[in-house]
């Protein structure tokens, strides 16, 4: 076979493509830089540190070493699953109550309050001008054993029902699960109302008129128009309520008793009193993972990815 070396045909001059503008390409990242740094410093770094702590063994006196002791996680779950369950249950109940209480109020503020709108909004936020702790302690006075609330509930025999359900004990409300859930509901209610209000307020009033023109009854209008359009508010409100409520320990500490301890109390105790840092870190991670899973499932279920 003879090899014929042929000069390749001269390349046709390819049209020079203008290189993309570099500056524009990097702009979003430059804009995100402060946020990313913040995230690295105050989120990623502590997470790494905590992850490391959770697989260490040792004692405060002799120091801790990373021994990849993953059994801590298993021990933490098998020891404290009731508290995890309780946290999810209390936070879930409080979130549902917040939604039930908050939705009508947000609806009222958005559509019916007229000139009172700002005043009512201020009233919703006003309790936040005092400290979280004081607001929680106030519930001890409100729900005191000899107080009017407990007296009224007793005379209506409602406490017999709740005791039978196991959420109160005898003729008192304080130091029972009911008190803790009340405290959680109260403390996180504004986090539900404000996002709900924001998304309700944005709804175009003409949509209601249109629904009316098409002979929709008020309830149908609500079901088919108002509620679906307020879903972003519902989702962000429930998340803003559920996530902090499930990690809360103040309400359980002040309004609860021995059988109402939430996982936040356990973490606090392990970290500050028992000085078992690995278990405390493992518990924090498990809580974080649990919340992440619940929230992911919830967001998928509610199908509002595009709305958030």
């Amino acid at each position: 076979m003879t090899t014929v070396t042929e000069a390749p045909p001269p390349l046709a001059p390819t049209p020079q493509k203008k290189p993309p503008r570099r500056r524009g390409r990097l702009t979003p990242y430059w804009l995100l830089l402060p946020g990313i740094l913040w995230l690295l410093l105050f989120f990623a770094l502590p997470m790494v540190y905590q992850a490391s702590t959770s697989v260490q063994t040792g004692s405060l006196e002799e120091g801790y070493e990373v021994t990849w002791h993953f059994a801590t996680y298993w021990d933490a779950v098998s020891e404290y699953w009731p508290q995890f369950l309780r946290s999810v249950l209390y936070a879930g109940t409080a979130t549902a109550l917040c939604l039930l209480l908050g939705y009508p109020l947000a609806y009222l503020i958005a559509f019916r309050a007229g000139r009172w709108r700002n005043l009512i909004l201020i009233l919703v936020i006003a309790p936040f001008f005092t400290s979280f702790l004081i607001r929680t302690l106030a519930w001890k006075t409100i729900l005191a054993d000899g107080g009017p609330v407990v007296g009224a509930l007793n005379s209506l025999h409602l406490l017999d029902v709740t005791s039978w359900l196991g959420i109160t004990a005898g003729d008192r409300v304080l130091a029972t699960p009911l008190a803790v859930v009340c405290g959680l509901t109260y403390n996180f209610l504004p986090f539900m109302i404000l996002p709900l209000y924001t998304s309700l307020e944005r709804i175009d009033g003409r949509l209601h008129e249109a629904a009316h023109d098409l002979y929709a009854k008020p309830f149908t209008t609500f079901r088919k128009v108002t509620f679906p359009l307020s879903m972003p508010g519902v989702v962000s409100g429930t998340l803003l309520t559920f996530i902090p409520a499930s990690g809360d320990y103040v309400n359980a500490d002040l309004l609860g008793s021995t059988d109402t301890r939430m996982v936040g109390n356990v973490i606090q105790g392990q970290f500050l009193r028992v000085l078992d840092y690995p278990t405390a870190a493992a518990l924090s991670f498990i809580l974080m993972a649990a919340i992440l899973i619940i929230v992911t499932l919830y967001i998928r279920k509610s199908g509002t990815e595009d709305l958030v």
Binding site: P20, L60, E61, E62, V274, L275
Partner: protein
């Protein structure tokens, strides 16, 4: 979530520079990246070094040049004048010695305060505090870790001479080489007469066993107070108990928790419950009871026949404190009968200084005769203290106690 879709977003934005970086994809990309980069190497690199200081303390005393001191204490633990802004005893100290005192009430809770100062002390750094005041078990821990400085007895003549016999030899600091008590804290049983409604409470057993008090008795979330009082009730000495004794005390309380007898394990917030009558009887700190009695006539206290617990809040000089000598002079000042009496008249806790009664009587006759402030012989004889615990014991006991207080 739509994984593939979002990866596409990221890729597209990296290749073309379009504005399609979504918030979520970037968040995830960044965190994921950081965690992967950090990876296992970082994880294993960050162990926590031993807390114990074996290198010894290098004192760094600037007292002669800098006439000042920074003093961290609990809230409501210092006398105030009518304006509630000045502290007369501290002002007198400054006037006499020329040492300015930066007085901060930044201690609310032993465990939290320990968390606050731990990083600096573990790293061998100055905490910015020359004098701190913590409860004996934490003082014992700080001494055990070598985080506080030995005091110079030649600067403490009054303190040495006037410290009450009762407080001279705790097992965690024999002869008081590192610490001097600021106050003694008696743990007693307090009750609300109206809420008791004729039921008699004289001991921990009365609180735990009387079905009429179901759900209306409280214990403290401070392990040593609650377990100490229960051990005494079981006929054990909290200064010498064994693991089995401890377990017996836990079991005794656990039974009461299971039966719903114990309403709550409380911190300082028991005071409100007691005055309202939500708690009929509870374990309480005597200093609070003196105050509550003054405000609410229904509240009173009882010392069980089996004895009561006494602990102390102690003054300590942390490592690397810049003004150790000045701090010692301040400790010594509060062991003079005059300032000690002024302080005792205000804060209502047990005064650890001998020879104060006469001085206190000049200010407040009632306080001088109150055995909760100046213990008489009978009272002092019933006082018991909790033995010090090793780190291992402390962890094991706190763990068991944590389970008791939150099943």
């Amino acid at each position: 979530m739509h994984n593939a879709g979002q990866n596409k977003h990221v890729q597209r934005s990296i290749r073309n520079g379009g504005p399609s970086v979504t918030r979520r994809s970037l968040l995830r990309a960044t965190t994921g990246g950081a965690l992967t980069l950090g990876g296992a190497a970082t994880l294993s690199a960050c162990g926590i070094p031993a807390a114990k200081n074996t290198a010894g303390v290098d004192s760094d005393d600037h007292s002669a040049k800098e006439k000042r001191i920074s003093f961290s204490n609990w809230t409501e633990y210092m006398d105030v004048d009518d304006s509630e802004k000045r502290h007369p005893t501290l002002d007198a100290f400054t006037k006499r010695t020329g040492i300015k005192v930066k007085y901060t009430e930044d201690i609310n809770d032993n465990v939290e305060f320990f968390g606050k100062i731990k990083p600096q002390l573990a790293a061998g750094q100055d905490t910015g505090r020359d004098l701190i005041c913590v409860t004996d078990w934490l003082a014992a821990r700080l001494i055990r870790f070598g985080w506080v400085q030995k005091l110079d007895p030649s600067n403490l003549p009054h303190a040495y001479a006037n410290l009450s016999q009762q407080f001279r030899n705790p097992d965690w600091d024999p002869g008081r080489a590192y610490s001097y008590p600021w106050t003694g804290i008696s743990t007693v049983i307090a009750y609300n007469k109206k809420a008791l409604d004729g039921v008699e409470v004289k001991s921990v057993s009365d609180m735990l066993d009387n079905p009429k008090l179901k759900g209306r008795v409280g214990f403290l979330s401070e392990m040593r107070d609650t377990i100490g009082m229960t051990l005494l009730d079981l006929g054990k000495d909290p200064a010498k108990f064994t693991d089995d004794d401890y377990d017996a005390a836990i079991a005794r309380l656990q039974k009461a928790v299971d039966q719903g007898q114990i309403r709550r394990f409380t911190g300082n917030d028991y005071t409100a419950d007691l005055t309202k009558g939500d708690l009929a009887a509870c374990i309480a700190w005597a200093g609070d009871v003196v105050q509550l009695k003054a405000d609410s006539p229904d509240v009173d206290f009882v010392i069980p026949d089996s004895g009561y617990m006494t602990s102390t809040d102690n003054l300590l000089v942390p490592n690397k404190a810049r003004h150790k000598t000045n701090a010692e002079r301040l400790i010594d000042y509060y062991y003079e009968p005059g300032p000690a009496a002024q302080l005792a008249a205000y804060i209502n806790y047990v005064c650890p200084v001998d020879g104060v009664k006469a001085e206190l009587a000049k200010i407040d006759e009632d306080a001088a005769n109150n055995p909760l402030i100046i213990p008489d012989a009978a009272m002092a004889a019933k006082s018991r203290s909790f033995r010090s615990l090793s780190t291992k014991e402390e962890t094991a006991y706190e763990e068991k106690f944590a389970k008791l207080t939150g099943a």
